[in-house]
Symmetry: C2
């Protein structure tokens, strides 16, 4: 695995596009010599101190200027990767940036693949695996909650907790192994109750981490809210009214094509993905088609379902069918928005929503009740116990969740064996398995597969 | 104008998108204090030396960490703008980058508008106006030729030439004004022949610059090549075959919608915009419609017209009409590609292309003749005199072309007046006008309008 660290790699580290500046990152044992051969400046960067910036020109193989740049030197081990790094800040055009990179690659540097820089940081012991994953999450974060949890993970909050749990289990294993060593002499050294307590504590701590995942997933991926309603109930105006005040997310990144319009908004730092579906008529029609339709799948898979009703009209057949369906599902995450209250009057026909349903009255037109609706949406994802997680380490990553679940399984199996007086050897196998599962999270136990899977998800240049 | 330099400005300087890192640039008198208030690191950046990089955290107003960053300090006047600059390199996510910028703006910094940083560099005398324009051109360059010419302009090649011409004219003006001062005493101090020579030299030098514009425009904007042909002549395969070997431009930037497919390729550093039109039938039909159709407009406006013919077939009526039309236009930039030579045989019917027409035989399928076609395309834009321009300063900007044309007009008017013995005062008016026009190029003479027009074309952050 160390072989790959002997090469020097380079990539464009800034997003691709037109901007004022782009940065090309070069890392590895020959980063300084490679760049020095293509850099003309006042100072020879071979002699540059760490953390210093130098103005000059990058030239190509024929000694012709490619661009005016600023090179910043970070010397090993005081760099992101732990290796010598040169960051070349050039003019932010697509063509010129690529030419600068090409010139550096021609000087005997290899192009970096996705996540290569972060992988080097991991391999050189600058960060552990959960911290490496946090970097990708941080970059992809679209809300404050997502940013904060990944930042905490990057700063080692999760690693610390994982080490704590693992150390306790290693301590238990020590006790068990001591017993094994002396077992032939027939002396019962082990304090069974003590080991049992340690196991129970371990399971409790793992459980606490596992319980945070429902929040972690929401923080990281956002809350999927699906809007349904008959045509002209005011779904679009409601969505616009909701989005109006949200200035956190302005740019929509061009992504995969979607069958449904998805708009993003944040409420108190939590990302909500608002999915606007086709009209309700189409949707209820499709109930008969046994829910094979995508619209219906989206409704079923949503974290919150919002039915938008026109408060000036009675309930339509479509709405009644829909309400009946939802009632049968018994979903707690269902909200009715009673819209257009600004034009409701005495002549408005009577209608009744199902009991125990949360109803929010709004006028998308006058922007009335919108703040209330936001609070209701937030309430639906933050139950009262949320306060408990405010200071807690949050699990956001499915890989971590799976590893912790496996560790819990092994530990429960070990506990069971302990209680039924199985041999210490037998218990130790499960315990070692639990320790390994936990170690996978921070990369104490890794395989080439795990690493490839994690780092291939990164962007190039990171 | 100096008032605006008292504020401190900030913007995201890297392209918007997801990448490993983004850079936020802060410039102005309070750049250091503003960032220092939001930066927690080992070193207080208020005391940091110029051109040094510092690892730490950016915090928000509640002292909560926004991101881990590296701040690089450039102290006035040794920075791009000539002011104190801090460049904050943070994680390259859209949300996290925006949050870092927000934290800095909250600290009393103003958001920068398009071109604000470059405008400051100009106002602080770090670069002249033609150099400022070169930065925008460099970022937008899509070929080596475009990059090289804008880089030369940025490095002052044009400025130097403009100063040279202007200094000569100022010298002539000096002679004229000396004459004016002493004119009442009736002494003819002026060496008329010397002034005439200086005027002629000025016109010659301006002409040389003006002549480079046809190249400059092509270097900067690319050569528009339009492909026409009957259906199944192999236009698309030919285009694919041409594009196949061109690895210089891989990414297509999403741009404005176009009625025609335009693909970009470079041949020896020159950008070619290959425009694939609808079939020829449609095109020739439209000749009768008095050329109002867009296809026909594109053909007329192209730098090079390529007719793709299927060499296994005789000329169709449509092709004959097209050839006749082109013949009447007498265009030198017309090329016929005789395609599908791989399947041509004895049974192929006879046909004759118009005399003196450049014909290139190709097989798009076998990739035969493609290199030859590229050479022919390059020949069409680089006439023999191109060698003369290799070392010359190239005009690429329409504003510069217009200013030089105006200067030439004024100078010719001054020369005419001189020859017809008009009064020195009269001549001096034209001469001053020529000097002003030339001064506009490098920004010695500017108006708020000129500046706004130039810098509004920049991206934010530059």
């Amino acid at each position: 695995m160390n072989g790959r660290l002997e090469t020097t790699i380079a990539a464009i580290a800034t997003p691709i596009g037109e901007g004022a500046i782009s940065v090309i990152r070069v890392s590895g044992p020959s980063a300084l010599t490679a760049v020095a051969g293509r850099f003309h400046g006042k100072q020879n960067i071979l002699n540059a101190k760490s953390h210093t910036a130098h103005y000059g020109r990058i030239v190509d193989g024929r000694n012709e200027t490619v661009d005016e740049v600023v090179c910043t030197v970070f010397r090993a081990p005081h760099s992101f990767t732990g290796e010598d790094i040169v960051e070349i800040s050039c003019h932010g055009g697509i063509h010129v940036t690529r030419r600068v990179l090409e010139s550096i690659l021609e000087a005997g540097v290899s192009p970096a693949g996705p996540g290569d820089f972060t992988q080097r940081a991991f391999l050189n012991g600058k960060i552990d695996l959960s911290q490496a994953e946090a970097i990708a999450d941080l970059i992809q974060s679209q809300s404050d909650k997502a940013r904060q949890t990944s930042l905490e993970q990057l700063e080692g909050a999760l690693s610390k907790q994982i080490h704590l749990v693992r150390d306790q289990l290693v301590q238990s294993l020590g006790l068990l192994e001591l017993e094994l060593d002396f077992s032939e002499e027939g002396i019962a050294l082990i304090d069974k109750k003590k080991v049992e307590n340690l196991f129970n504590l371990g399971i409790l701590e793992i459980d606490q981490l596992l319980n945070t995942y429902k929040y972690g997933k929401v923080w990281r991926e956002g809350v999927r809210v699906v809007l349904v309603g008959v045509p002209n109930a005011g779904k679009s105006s409601l969505l616009n009214s909701l989005l109006k005040e949200d200035r956190a997310i302005v740019t929509n990144i061009p992504g995969t094509t979607r069958d449904f319009i998805e708009e993003k908004m944040t409420i108190e730092g939590v990302l909500f993905r608002m999915i606007d579906t086709a009209g309700l008529r189409e949707t209820t029609d499709l109930i008969e088609k046994e829910g094979v339709n995508r619209t219906w799948k989206i409704i079923k898979g949503a974290d919150i379902i919002v039915l938008v009703h026109d408060s000036t009209k009675t309930l339509t057949d479509d709405e009644n069918i829909f309400l009946e369906t939802i009632k049968n599902w018994d979903r707690q995450d269902f909200v009715i928005v009673n819209n257009k209250i600004d034009i409701r009057n005495d002549k408005t026909p009577q209608y009744h929503f199902p009991e125990k349903t949360r109803v929010v009255e709004t006028s998308a037109m006058n922007h009335t009740g919108i703040e209330n609706l936001k609070e209701v949406l937030l309430d639906k994802v933050l139950d009262k116990s949320e306060e408990d997680y405010k200071e807690a380490v949050i699990i956001t990553n499915e890989r971590h969740y799976t590893a912790l679940s496996k560790a819990k399984q092994s530990l429960m199996s070990a506990l069971k064996s302990l209680k039924s007086n199985e041999s210490e050897e037998f218990i130790a196998v499960d315990l070692r398995s639990a320790i390994d599962s936990i170690g996978e999270i921070i990369g104490l136990v890794t395989t080439e597969d795990i690493l490839n899977n994690i780092f291939s998800k990164f962007c190039i240049g990171k």
